[in-house]
Structures are given as structure tokens and as C-alpha cells.
Symmetry: C2
Subunit: 546 residues, 2 copies
């Protein structure tokens, strides 16, 4: 797109600059510990999280659409990366795998943007999304528990973790656990009692404080696991390893990572946009995330997405334009230069504490109760997705969720509610005879089928209508109220024709009322006047009285 | 079930007996050549078709529900059996494989009957069913073309057949071709010019005539491929080979065979039941077909289903009860005893002619045109299913068809038609402002969303309503006409809540009108009064005037 020079001038001359800079600083303070922690969660060296928090943010600022989406490493993606890297071929370093995964994720998102596949996000229903988030959050928390307690056990699903912990004899290390649990307590206390700027600075201060403490007390020689000396922090641009077998092995994981990166970012961006009275352009979101992941792949990072916590913080702190993302990148570059040496002394248990407090604060169990109350099948699906993510893998949970949602939708359309309707006395309104005191006409049957006529229910149409007919001997006409029929597919059309013929054999006429405009247009275009001998009424009342 | 002795006595004393016997005889005359031919089509010895036409018919007569379903070998199933047996492990005879396939088919149908899975039939939409039938018909016709012409080429999909024919140098045999083409001509002529009993007897007479001719002219020594000496026809009861690997290898095919056996039988039974004013019990159909296939497996047969041509014939010939099926079995047993020796002299080309004339007479291409006109996407799907069945396999075609139908349904629900509605002057009816001359009220927006609120469209609800709101400044209330909303799933509930909040932030009230009874019940049960502050009106007019 052409550079809007007037816009740039206005941006620096007037309002947004100061707010964007301030918001960027506040978010950077949270991003430093998070980027290190999520890299560790993904099974990668800590500096990779920092690299993923630099150039990708510039790409999103250039291509994306939301002024408050905090792009960078996120916890759920880190879990998926860890599961993907667990299946790397021998001889491939995890960091190399992460680059390939980021490159594939970026390419998939770019292709999706090009093919306008943004609607695919609608395949993830609320039960799937919430079930997935909770399962992933718990899996992340459990995976960090050993690190928090100084144990060597390792695993990204519960069975693997349990087995590894048992083989290690449930080892733990007192001083590490003290760091970890102490950090947890400090973070929780800060959340509880510190508001505003002090509260926001707490994670960074904790980091610096524990680094100082570990250095001062020589924690390394006391057996506390530290992040350790980072290689010289230097941003190197390059292509990820071009190895066909490696790319193929990681492709299924990249597809899932791309889907979750897009959907989770979109959910955050949309919910904040509604609060701000703005609109999100789904296709530009795809493009922005594609650019961010491709740059992550080219600059030694890992797959990135929009973070819920940092996006909310950006909004709260007053970010006005996407420039704040670019400023965050600048602050992160400064932090890298300043923190390279001290980070070696950071206890891993403190990072684990950062992760656990961050993810567990987002846990919500009420949606399970609400879903169960509203639709038990959807509540069970939510629970099943959570269990699968926790016990098997993210991929298994998501697959079950999408297939389950579709199956429930099909089942719902397959068994429509059918009502005999009568006239509310003195009006032209017609309602279910079982629910309202209404009047029926002898010889004319008014029926309402509460569903589109689709292949899932087409086979039952004639049978259902004939059922009502048997209960009402002497019927000469059936008037179908079509206002709930939003669509008629080709199978539904065949069913309607069959119903018409079946009634004609009994000398009963089939009439339709209140057929929707688009539905009637298609019926007419199909040449239905060749077989349809009934009437179409604008109102059901006219149809009954005719 | 207890034997109804009074019913049995009444049956023999009064009407149905004579009609059932006559209908059974007429159908047996058609079944003899068909059973031999379809066994050959399935790549099995001819006598297996006869075995499959004996005991299975008794099982269906005992357990099924339709008095006119002509159970036995059918062409489409024979094609699927042939494809399944093409993948048999070495050392397993095709006839052994056919028994295992029949046993698995019977077990699957029995389990489906037990679990009440009869609704799964609705997964097959009209485009899938018709596309599949046409593809299978063409594949069958092409596979019989070499036999008709005396060639040795062999294959059940076009590419395999073409390759085999090319390798054989497109060989053919003059005298065999003369038998085949002559039989085709005779059968077509009989269909054209002979009505009633002579027409019905034509296939059997042709069989006997060509046997006599082949014997008289010593066709074997002239190189005509004959059915050949059958082993002594003797019905042996026994279990099919119990070999885990074999059962596992055939299971995917058995699932497809079971699905098609059930659905194709159900379609025939239902369409005839409607003509007869009877009802079909889907679960008893499952049970009847399960029994038929299990007995086929135990008595040297092959998978069976209801045949379209024989069922129509049973109906036309006046079958009154399911006893006609048992009589057919008796006639078939007699035929076996009489025909065992002469059948050795039957030219295979004549059987191929029987198959081709039978299946090709059912070809209909108008549904492609109709579907294309009514819904181009469904027309394309029908064509794609046909192409896949013809060029790849039945399994590939069915899989694409089911997934494609579901995708089209999801896409339809994802992009609902939304209309701004106004009052038809002088009435209480509200219609789309773009299609009718209607009146709108300032400050109150009446909207109609023509779809259930489902996860596929939930994400767009707020955005769509906000779009209308932006075009109508000064709106104080939005009244959603809910008569087209047949369902609200949990994602839809979340979307409604979000819309409510989004409007509340702009001080716009959200009201609902004409909410369906079942939908309102569930909203109330979910405790929506905690967040919903608007009104629910029984009629949209009340809602607009309030």
C-alpha cells in the first residue's frame, strides 16, 4: 500500500504518539518475562522468545488491522509447538524445527488470506474453543509444575508427564521450589493488592529481583536450575532449513498452529474492537499474522499470534494505532541488549511461576455449567474436548470438537419440531395448538415445520405430514406455513414434490404460505410450476381463509 | 415374536395367498437370470447368486416390514463386492471373501438396528444418491462390455478396465459377441414390444433359448465363454472363515456395503409404500436386511439388499404380504434343481447382456440438469460423485458426496439472508423492505435473520446488526423477528448475549418477537433473564408498536 505521508505527519504532530509509546512500554514490561517463559514452555532456548517479539510485531503493524492486538509468543501456541517438536526427526534441533513451523504457519495463513478462507474460523464453536482453551491451560500448568518444584519430569500431556515423573521417583529440589513457590506467591499478591503501574511492573521487578538474589547467593552451585548463559543476542536473518521430509512432518502441526493462531487472535481482536466501536477485517488479520510468522521464521523466532493478556493490556493502557506494536519491538530490542548478561542467572522456576500465574488466572469453569444447562450435548462436547487436549493431544481434541459440533448441528436439523397451528381468536396470527388457545378450521390443516428443508430431514417430510393427516380425517387442504423454512436444498425440493404427489393421490391440495423471497425465487427458477398445483399465499391467514 | 395362528389361518383361507404366489412366480422368473448375472458381476461363481436368493428371502420375510421389497443379489452391491474382493489377501477364495463380507454386513446392520442408527441414512442426500447410482450403473455397464464382446479385459473402474483392455490388444471374439449383442437386441425388443406376461417371461426364455442353441451348436469348442459345469447344487450351512486379518481387511467395504444395502432398500421400500398407502418401519428394515445377510453368510451366498426392479415387479404383480418372498425362495429352490445341468451351457455374454439391459434402463440424466438449475453447487457435487465412482471407486465417491453435502449445508447456515422489515400498510404483517412496499417506524429497527443462530454464523450476528444500525442513525430499539430462528445453539446464545451488550453500550434496547416455543423454553431454562433486559413479544407488530 502507498505510504500515507500526511497520516504519518499527523501521527507525530498530534495525539496518538504519546499514548502509543506509553502503552508499548507497559506491554513490553509484561512481554519480556512472557517471551522467555513461552519459549521455555515450547521446549526452546529462552532467547528465541525474545527474537519472536521483535520483527514479527513490525510485520503485524504494517499488515494487520487491530490497533490493540499484542502479537508475539503465546502460551497455547507454545504448547502446540512443544507437541509438534516432540516428533522431530533425529538430528534436527528444536530451534530449527520452530523456524520451519513458523514458516509453514505463515505460508498457510498467507494462502488462507489469498483464498479468502477467513470463514473457516466459524468451524470452531464456543464449546470447542472454550474446551480447548481450558484443556490447553491445564496442560500448560501441569507441564510447568515440575519446573516450579525443581523436578526433571517432563511432558505435555498428563499421561506422559505422570509416567516421566514416576520414573524419576517424583524428585524435587528444595531451593528451586522455594524460588518457584515464592515467585507464585509474589505474583498473586501483586495481582491482588497492587493496582495500576506498580502492579504492571511487578513481573519485571520480580524477574530482576530473583536474578539479583540468585547471583548474590550463587544459586547455581546450590543446584537451582537457571536459564543459563544465552548465546550472544544477535538477530540473524535467513531462510529456515529447506528439508522436504522435515517440512512434511511438521505440516499437520502447522495447520493446527495456523488455525489456532488465527482464531485465537481473531476472537481477541473482535472482542476488543466491539468495546472500542471499531471493526476487524478478518482478511487483513490473516495477512498480518502471515507476515508476522514469516518474519519470525526469517529472524530466528517461533510461531506467533495475538496474546489475550497483552492485547487487553494494550487496550487498557490506551494504544491508539498499530504503531504501538512497532514501539514494543523497539523496547524489546533495548531489553535484549540490557538483559543478555543478567538473564543467565534467572531461575527457571521463576519463569514457570510466571507462566502458571498468567495462564491459570484465565481459567473459567462456569461455561461448562452454562453449556450443560443450556444444551447438555454441547456441555459434554466441551468437557470431552478438554479431556482429549489434556490426556491425548491438542490435535485430537480439536478434531473431536469440530466433528462433534457438525454432528450436533446435523442432528438438530434432522429432527425438526413440527406444530399444528391455529388462529389466535380475533387476530391474523397463527400459533401452536399445544401451547396457545387457538381456533382450527375443519377441512384445512395448518402446519408449521420449524426447520429448513434439507437432506438431513427431507426423507421424513411426507411421513410427518401424513401423520397429522391421519389424525384429521376429512382434510381437503394442507397449508404449510413456510416462514421457518430458510432454505430448501435439492433433496428438500424432491421431498416437497413427493409430498405434493402423495397428497394429490388422496385428493388433498398442498398450499404454501409466507414463503421467503429468496426461497420462492429459487423454486420459481427451478420450474416448479410444472408440478406444483397449489397456491402460494403472502400470509398464512389468507391461505387458511381462501 | 409369537406366531399369529389366526393370521396364518386367515392367510391361507382367504385372499392374499393366490396373489402372493403369482407375484412370487413372476419375480422368480426375473430373479433366476439376475442372480446368476450379479454373482458373475461380483467376480463370483454363478451358483452363489442362486444361494443368495434362497434363505436370505426367508429371513427378510420373517423380520422385515415391506411386503414388496425384492431381497436378493443386486447390481450396485455386486460392483461394491467386486471392488472389495479385489483386495483379498493371497490364498483366500473370492467366495470365502463374499461370505465374510455378508456376515460383516449382517452384523453391522444388526448393530445399527440395535443402536437405532436408522437416521444415519439421512446422510445421503439426493445428489449423492443419484450421483452414486449413475456412476455405479455406468461402471457396471463398462465392466460387462468386454464379457459381452468375448474379450478377456477386466476391471471395475474405467482406468483399470482401459489399461487391461489395452494390454490385451482390445481382443474380442466374434461368436461370443454375436450371442451378447443378439441377447441385448432380444431383451430390448421384448421390453419395447412385449407387454404383460410374455414380456416378463422374455429374460428366462432367452436364457433357455441360448442354452439350447449353445448346446446344439457346441459353442464351447468354438471358443464361446460359458458359465461351465456348476458344482453339485447343494445348500450347505456353516460359518464363514473366522480369520481376524481377513475380517479386518474387509471391514471398510462391509461398512459401505451395509450403508448402501440399507439406504437403497429403504428408498425403494419407502417409495413403494407411499404408492400403496403403507408405512415402512426403518428399524425393522434394518433387522430384516441384517437377518438376510447373516443367512446369506451361513448358506454360501453373498451380500444382499432390496432390488429396485424386482420390488417394482412384486408391487405390479400384486404381492400382498411378505410371504411372497418366502414363495420366491421356494421357486428358486425348484429352479436350482432343474437348471443345474443346463446352466453349464449358458454363454457368459448372454448374462452380460442381461446385466447391461437391466442397469442401463434405469439411467436418468435429467436430475443433473434439474439439480444444476436449482442449485449449481449441488449439481456439481452430483457430477463429481458420479465421476469418482466411475474413475476411482465407490468408496471415494461416497466419501466425497457425504462430506460435500455437509460442507454445502454448513456454508448455507453460515451466510444467512438478513432483511430489514417494514409493515404492509393497513395490516399486521411485516415484510422485507427491498421486496415489498412497506412502512418503517423511525427509531425502531425491525430485522429478520433467516437462519437458526448456530456456531457457523454466530460470529457475524453483532456485526450484521451493527451494519444496519449504522445506516439508521437515531435508532432506540432493535426488534428481531425470531420466527425463522428454529434453533439457538450455545454459540448462538453467546452471540445473542454479545449483541445485547453491544447494543446496550449504545443505549439501544434489543427486543425479540415471535420467538418459537421450544426456543424460548430453552432460553428461559438457561437463566437468560440475568442478562436479557429487553421484551419478548408474541407478535412482531406488538413489538414495533410498543
Amino acid at each position: 500500500m502507498p505510504v500515507d505521508l500526511d497520516g504519518v505527519r499527523a501521527y507525530f504532530a498530534r495525539g496518538p504518539l504519546r499514548e502509543d509509546l506509553l502503552a508499548a512500554f507497559i506491554v513490553s514490561v509484561l512481554l519480556i518475562p512472557q517471551s522467555l517463559a513461552y519459549a521455555m514452555l515450547a521446549g526452546l532456548p529462552a532467547q528465541i522468545g525474545l527474537y519472536a517479539s521483535l520483527l514479527p510485531l513490525l510485520a503485524y503493524a504494517a499488515l494487520g488491522s487491530s490497533p490493540v492486538l499484542g502479537v508475539g509468543p503465546v502460551a497455547v501456541l507454545a504448547l502446540m509447538i512443544a507437541q509438534g517438536l516432540g516428533e522431530l526427526p533425529a538430528g534436527v534441533a528444536p530451534s530449527e524445527g520452530a523456524l520451519v513451523l513458523a514458516a509453514e504457519t505463515g505460508l498457510i495463513l498467507a494462502i488462507a488470506a489469498w483464498l479468502r478462507l477467513d470463514a473457516l474460523a466459524s468451524l470452531l464453536s464456543v464449546p470447542v474453543l472454550h474446551g480447548f482453551e481450558t484443556g490447553a491451560t491445564l496442560a500448560i500448568a501441569f507441564s510447568q509444575l515440575p519446573v516450579l518444584l525443581g523436578s526433571r519430569a517432563h511432558g505435555f500431556d498428563l499421561p506422559a508427564l505422570w509416567q516421566d515423573a514416576r520414573q524419576g521417583g517424583f524428585d524435587w529440589h528444595g531451593l528451586s521450589a522455594l524460588y518457584g513457590l515464592g515467585a507464585c506467591a509474589a505474583l498473586l499478591a501483586a495481582r491482588r493488592w497492587l493496582a495500576g503501574t506498580p502492579g504492571r511492573l511487578a513481573p519485571l521487578l520480580l524477574l530482576l529481583g530473583t536474578i539479583a538474589l540468585a547471583w548474590h547467593s550463587d544459586a547455581l552451585s546450590r543446584g537451582v536450575a537457571l536459564v543459563g548463559a544465552l548465546p550472544r543476542l544477535r538477530l540473524e536473518l535467513g531462510l529456515p532449513r529447506l528439508d522436504g521430509a522435515l517440512w512434511l512432518a511438521l505440516l499437520p502441526h502447522a495447520l493446527l498452529v495456523a488455525l489456532m493462531a488465527y482464531v485465537s487472535s481473531l476472537v481477541v481482536a473482535e472482542s476488543l474492537a466491539r468495546r472500542r466501536g471499531e471493526k476487524v477485517d478478518a482478511r487483513r488479520e490473516l495477512a498480518g499474522l502471515a507476515g508476522a510468522n514469516l518474519l519470525a521464521a526469517a529472524s530466528g523466532g517461533m510461531p506467533v499470534a495475538g496474546s489475550f493478556s497483552r492485547s487487553v493490556l494494550l487496550h487498557d493502557a490506551g494504544s491508539r494505532t498499530r504503531a504501538s506494536g512497532a514501539f514494543i519491538a523497539v523496547f524489546m530490542a533495548l531489553a535484549m541488549l540490557l538483559l543478555a548478561a543478567p538473564l543467565a542467572w534467572l531461575p527457571k522456576a521463576v519463569l514457570a511461576a510466571t507462566i502458571m500465574v498468567a495462564v491459570l488466572s484465565g481459567l473459567r469453569f462456569e461455561p461448562y455449567r452454562d453449556a450443560w444447562r443450556y444444551a447438555p450435548a454441547e456441555g459434554l462436547l466441551m468437557l470431552a474436548v478438554t479431556a482429549l487436549v489434556l490426556l491425548v493431544s491438542v490435535a485430537a481434541g480439536l478434531a473431536l470438537g469440530v466433528l462433534g459440533s457438525i454432528a450436533l448441528l446435523l442432528q438438530r436439523t434432522a429432527r425438526p419440531h413440527v406444530a399444528l397451528i391455529g388462529r389466535v381468536p380475533g387476530t391474523e396470527h397463527y400459533r401452536n395448538v399445544d401451547r396457545h388457545a387457538v381456533e382450527c378450521l375443519p377441512g384445512v390443516l395448518g402446519l408449521r415445520i420449524d426447520e429448513s428443508l434439507l437432506f438431513t430431514n427431507a426423507r421424513n417430510l411426507t411421513e410427518v405430514v401424513q401423520g397429522f393427516l391421519q389424525q384429521h380425517a376429512g382434510t381437503r387442504r394442507v397449508v404449510l406455513l413456510m416462514s421457518p423454512v430458510n432454505n430448501i436444498d435439492f433433496s428438500g425440493l424432491a421431498a416437497l414434490q413427493e409430498l405434493h404427489q402423495s397428497l394429490a393421490r388422496q385428493s388433498v391440495r398442498l398450499d404454501l404460505s409466507e414463503v421467503k423471497g429468496p426461497v420462492l425465487d429459487r423454486l420459481r427458477a427451478s420450474g416448479w410450476q410444472r408440478w406444483f398445483k397449489g397456491q402460494v399465499y403472502l400470509s398464512h391467514h389468507q391461505g387458511m381463509m381462501d
